[in-house]
């Protein structure tokens, strides 16, 4: 028996070392916390485990990671501070073992009600770092039905400390990224202001022409002026959407969507400006639906940006051609390609493309479209590849995981 216990302790220690390696090697917080939770489940042999984080603004706890039975159901639940065992541990910043929840007044059972799980025994530890409460970790119902021990508690607290360090690191990193992004936006305010003034100039120009058309009863002027107003209002809309997307911190809201359909729709939307430039813009079908779990609004923004760019890169002498195509690639990836036969990208500009607000477009360019596209694709845990030579056109290839939630949970 003692030999078995010693073996388990050694195992646990080894797992703890693994976890600490994970914490220091990855900046992907969700990945790290998933591994910690998984290790807890494995080592303590429990039926379920979760890790909840404190939501900054509301102070409530939300399930960042959940493993085991009813894990999916639990993910959407928000636990108010102080409610239930997890809430108590968070509010009091003290670990708790409750081996018979039914007899403990702090247990409310409301989460069980919502998920259909039956909690019998629970061990919960607060995640604290430098006096800050970052969340809680809990393990529930040992598989062999035995009670949680002090040994279990110590182990959980150790894992909890490691998790807390990771969370703190990630939050600091996120703050830094946010500040850098806001600083970048500040720097480009001048650039954006220029762009907006130019669009405004066109809107006012179009209105001027409409006024003349009304005054002179000249329908041609009326139509021409109105087209200009419409077109530039749309440009303004695109610019504002890009600005909002870039400055917001948002998790994509995933659902199953057909990328062929989305590409087709974008091609329709851009076709008017393609026609005006005498550019042949077409959508190619691979034949079947290209379904993936994506944020349709975000991916649409990416495609609008890249397809418009492609059209603008083309010559306006009638030779210009842009092709958009979506396919399934291997079992876990989808790919969307946007190819043009336009001016191409100089090698010295390639590295700047997504990392600064970079544009070669003169008064219309802000570089925001590319920066936004990169941001959205990264949020999807995908990537954008560029294949281009000056004078030989450009192909942008967007690769997205088909089921990003599966990529994360692994």
């Amino acid at each position: 028996m003692e030999k078995l216990l010693k073996h388990l302790e050694r195992e646990a220690l080894r797992k703890l070392i693994d976890v600490s390696r994970t914490v220091s090697s990855s900046l992907d917080l969700h990945e790290v916390l998933t591994r910690v939770t998984h290790t807890a489940t494995d080592t303590m042999r429990v039926k379920a485990a979760s890790l909840l984080l404190v939501e900054r603004e509301s102070g409530d706890l939300f399930f960042e990671v959940a493993e085991g039975e009813k894990a999916e159901a639990v993910r959407r639940i928000v636990v108010p501070m102080g409610k239930g065992i997890a809430g108590w541990v968070a509010a009091h910043r003290r670990s708790l073992i409750v081996n018979d929840v039914a007899s403990d007044g702090r247990f409310t059972g409301w989460v069980d009600e919502m998920t259909g799980f039956t909690t019998r025994a629970i061990l919960c530890v607060p995640l604290l770092y430098r006096e800050k409460l970052l969340g809680v970790m809990e393990v529930i119902n040992k598989v062999d039905g035995t009670e949680f021990t002090d040994g279990d508690l110590r182990l959980c607290e150790s894992m909890g400390s490691l998790a807390a360090i990771a969370i703190d690191n990630a939050q600091i990193h996120a703050e830094q990224v946010r500040s850098a992004r806001l600083a970048a936006i500040g720097q480009t305010m001048a650039g954006l202001a220029h762009c907006i003034k130019n669009i405004l100039n066109a809107v006012q120009g179009g209105s001027y022409i409409v006024d003349l058309g009304l005054k002179d009863h000249d329908e041609e002027k009326l139509v021409k002026g109105w087209q200009i107003v419409k077109r530039n209002s749309a440009f303004l809309g695109e610019l504002v959407l890009n600005m909002l997307t870039y400055s917001k911190e948002r998790e994509p809201s995933y659902c199953d969507a057909d990328l062929s359909e989305i590409s087709q729709r974008v091609v329709e939307l851009v076709s008017e400006s393609a026609q005006r430039r005498n550019v042949r813009l077409r959508w190619e079908s691979g034949g079947e639906a290209v379904v993936a779990r994506i944020d349709p609004v975000g991916i649409r923004r990416v495609l609008m940006n890249l397809v418009s760019n492609a059209v603008e890169a083309c010559p306006d002498n009638g030779d210009g051609e842009v092709c958009v195509r979506a396919d399934v690639r291997e079992t876990n990836q989808v790919v969307i390609q946007i190819s043009d036969n336009g001016c191409g990208i100089a090698p010295e500009n390639r590295s700047k493309l997504f990392h600064e607000f970079f544009s070669t477009k003169g008064s219309r360019g802000t570089g925001l479209g590319l920066a936004v596209s990169h941001k959205i694709v990264s949020e999807h845990k995908g990537r954008i590849e560029v294949d281009s030579m000056p004078g030989q056109g450009t192909t942008f290839t967007i690769l997205l995981p088909r089921r990003p939630s599966e990529v994360r949970a692994r």
């Binding site: 003034k197 022409i209 008064s363 219309r364």
Partner: protein, 130 residues
Amino acid sequence: MGEAKKILVVDDEPDAVEFVKTVLSREDWEVVSAEDGQAGLEAAVADPPDLIILDVQMPKKDGFEVFFELQQKETTRSIPVIMLTAVGQRTGLRFSAGEMDAYMDVQPQAYVEKPIDPSGLINAVRKALA
């Protein structure tokens, strides 16, 4: 009465060109356009206009580069130039301060700011053509 005065508008934005053309054609001036700096230079050399309206922010060759080159050529040196600019823009996109001094002894006739005020533009053009 002489021939109608000819004005060359150089701007990469078709809608902006349309705006300027419409404003100026009310006054019986002949307006032609070029859609980038290089084309503008070639048009000015091939058939020198009476006035050039030049947008500052253009890809490849910006307004200041074009202005500089116009000053270098015998046939185009004396053509008055009006620069179109978004507010506060007095420096070109690709010149350092030192380079700017080299040719900013000669300044454009006028700067007209975007969004363009039609009567302001007409006044500036009348003055430049006088």
